[in-house]
């Protein structure tokens, strides 16, 4: 099975406190720790496991600046067969449809049976996978938390639906699936693994190489534009406790006692 996995380099929100720059145009990015989007990492692991079972190849693709190379290389160290970078100034400011349009051009250069994306990334939009499927006119399923390869050209998949239930479906290939976290245990990548792929060449394609018309993606092609970032003023917020560790513990015990938190 030939699998394409779309990945994104994002600020690691577990490691970072996100704050906003003075003019509100962007978050402060100088000191952020970047990594591969968590959902995408599960998608790459799943693709590798599928290929280990039924054969084929895994290609990891990222849209972004040249910085995206580090996450593509990291995913190659996990065991992906090849990497692909889609980089052009004209891609900057793309909305979800713009990113899906760029990825479609990359997908059409190969003969893929399956395309995986993470269910969502740092902006929480959860949109690119479904848009890419529609652009390719392939069937789609979101929030996938189980994949079994059937004999013939179909997959048996599970989707995570509300309340922790799982919706089982059959889907024809080629198809696009967006992957939910937790469906596997992504393998660890050590320094040695990264070194092994350090000198592997990762092709970089721009808009011209991908045959993407000027203005169809990027800021000019975007129907949806982000105007600014801000921190909302919501409600009263919590009563914040202060003091030493021991003082905090005492205050918390009193509050818990009063409210029935100690049984």
């Amino acid at each position: 099975m030939e699998i394409l996995v779309c990945v994104k380099r994002v600020p690691d929100s577990a490691e970072n406190e996100i704050s906003i720059g003075a003019d509100g145009a962007d978050i402060r990015r100088d000191d952020l720790v970047y990594s591969v989007n968590e959902w995408d990492n599960y998608a790459v692991e799943e693709a590798i496991q599928i290929v280990e079972r039924v054969g084929g190849s895994v290609t990891v693709v990222a849209v972004g600046t040249a910085d995206a190379e580090e996450v593509v290389r990291r995913e190659m160290a996990m065991g992906a067969t090849q990497g692909l970078l889609l980089v052009d100034e004209a891609f900057e400011g793309s909305d979800g449809l713009g990113i899906a349009t760029i990825l479609r051009a990359a997908a059409q250069r190969g003969q893929y049976d399956l395309i995986l994306t993470g269910a969502q990334a740092d902006d929480g939009a959860a949109q690119v996978g479904g848009m890419l499927a529609a652009l390719l006119d392939w069937p789609y399923a979101s929030l996938v938390n189980r994949i079994e390869v059937n004999a013939g050209e179909s997959l048996r998949i599970g989707r995570e639906i509300e309340g922790g239930s799982q919706e089982i479906s059959e889907i024809a290939t080629p198809c696009v699936l967006s992957i939910q976290t937790g469906l596997n245990e992504p393998r660890y990548v050590g320094i040695r693994g990264i070194r092994k792929v350090a000198s592997v060449e990762i092709p970089m394609l721009d808009a011209a190489a991908l045959g993407i018309a000027e203005g169809s993606v990027g800021q000019t092609g975007a129907k949806v534009q982000r105007v600014d970032y801000f921190v909302p003023q919501t409600g009263l917020g919590a009563e914040m406790l202060a003091g030493s560790t021991v003082e905090l513990a005492s205050q918390l015990v009193e509050i818990l006692k009063t409210k029935g938190g100690l049984k």
Binding site: S142, G163, E170, V246
Partner: protein, 322 residues
């Protein structure tokens, strides 16, 4: 020109979900003066259609056995067929909305606005909405060119239902439009979540751990605290993803909905998916090392602290107070 506005009605056991009425609120804020049309798809829909007709002027019914379980791959061809050009469609940002919305927007040539939490006044066909990014740590204003229509998914709980008054809506049976739909994805079954060793939905005091606990070995600190409090241990999604606790311990929209009296959140950032699983307005005490964590906006009491220091001290203090 008044926008042609549609809301997609999610329903369970013959009743419209809360999201349906939240979409009505969102539609009226986004498109003042609009008369939203309710779209109801499924099988055996009379109750839901009557319920929506009591709130809105017009209900379109699509009753087909094939739609009994919602399948986005059947629904998009139906909606592409029946929606007028330039339609504004509101969906819940649910597992179905996320499945259906992005691809549908492409096929309609419409803009896509996912997980909307707020709105500002529109200007002509430019919609202005508010979203959140980075797990709720920051918000953004978006402008959207909706001249070709828009598909908008709306976060659950962001637009509380308003009294809609009583309408005597017309139910228009359009089931014929839903005949003979085919899809390359077929629904097989729903596997319900497994029950766990304890039922956290019945517990009055819960200690919940999140990613901020750091390492698996630190989980013992939370377990000892829960034991001292007489509380049950639960968690947010990353803990289940890491296989440190069973799925039956997960609070959130993709886990269980709990209704405790006291909820102590340890190292939980406070994503809307997690908060969506906490009902009944408990005393919510949050401890997190990140002062910007969204959990502090939802919590009643907050502490910015290192869990590894504070938890043992708190456990000890509780033992002393007994």
């Amino acid at each position: 020109m008044v926008a042609k506005v549609f809301i997609f009605v999610a329903h369970t056991d013959g009743k419209a979900d809360d999201t349906a009425f939240e979409l009505v609120t969102a539609a009226k804020r986004l498109f003042p003066g609009c008369a939203p049309v309710a779209l109801v798809t499924g099988s055996g829909l009379d109750g839901v259609c009557q319920e929506m007709a009591a709130a809105l002027g017009e209900v379109w019914k699509f009753d087909q056995a094939a739609l009994a379980h919602p399948n986005a791959e059947l629904l998009w061809p139906l909606l592409v067929k029946v929606l007028p050009a330039g339609a504004m469609l509101l969906l819940p940002h649910s597992s179905l909305g996320m499945d259906l919305g992005p691809g549908l927007s492409v096929r309609l040539g419409a803009a896509y606005l996912p997980d909307v939490v707020g709105t500002e006044a529109s200007e002509g066909t430019t919609l202005r909405v508010i979203r959140q990014e980075f797990n709720g740590q920051v918000s953004t204003h978006l402008h959207c060119d909706a001249s070709g229509g828009a598909v908008i998914t709306v976060r659950s709980g962001a637009f509380p239902p308003e009294a809609t008054g009583s309408a005597v809506g017309q139910v228009s049976d359009r089931s014929g439009d839903a005949e003979g739909l085919t899809a390359r994805r077929t629904f097989v079954e729903v596997i319900p979540a497994e029950a766990g060793d304890i039922d956290i939905t019945r517990e009055e005091v819960l200690v919940a751990v999140g990613r901020g606990i750091g390492d698996q070995e630190n989980l013992a600190l939370a377990e000892e605290l829960a034991l001292a409090m007489g509380a049950a241990l639960c968690c947010s999604r990353p803990i289940v993803d890491a296989k440190w606790l069973a799925k039956s311990r997960q609070v959130g929209t993709s886990g269980l909905t709990v209704q405790p009296k006291v909820y102590l959140a340890l190292g939980i950032s406070g994503s809307f998916q997690h908060l969506g699983g906490i009902k009944g307005s408990p005393l919510l005490v949050a401890i997190n090392k990140n002062p910007n964590a969204p959990i502090f906006q939802a919590a009643s009491v907050g502490v910015v602290a290192d869990l590894l220091e504070l938890l043992p001290a708190l456990t000890e203090k509780i033992h002393q107070s007994r």
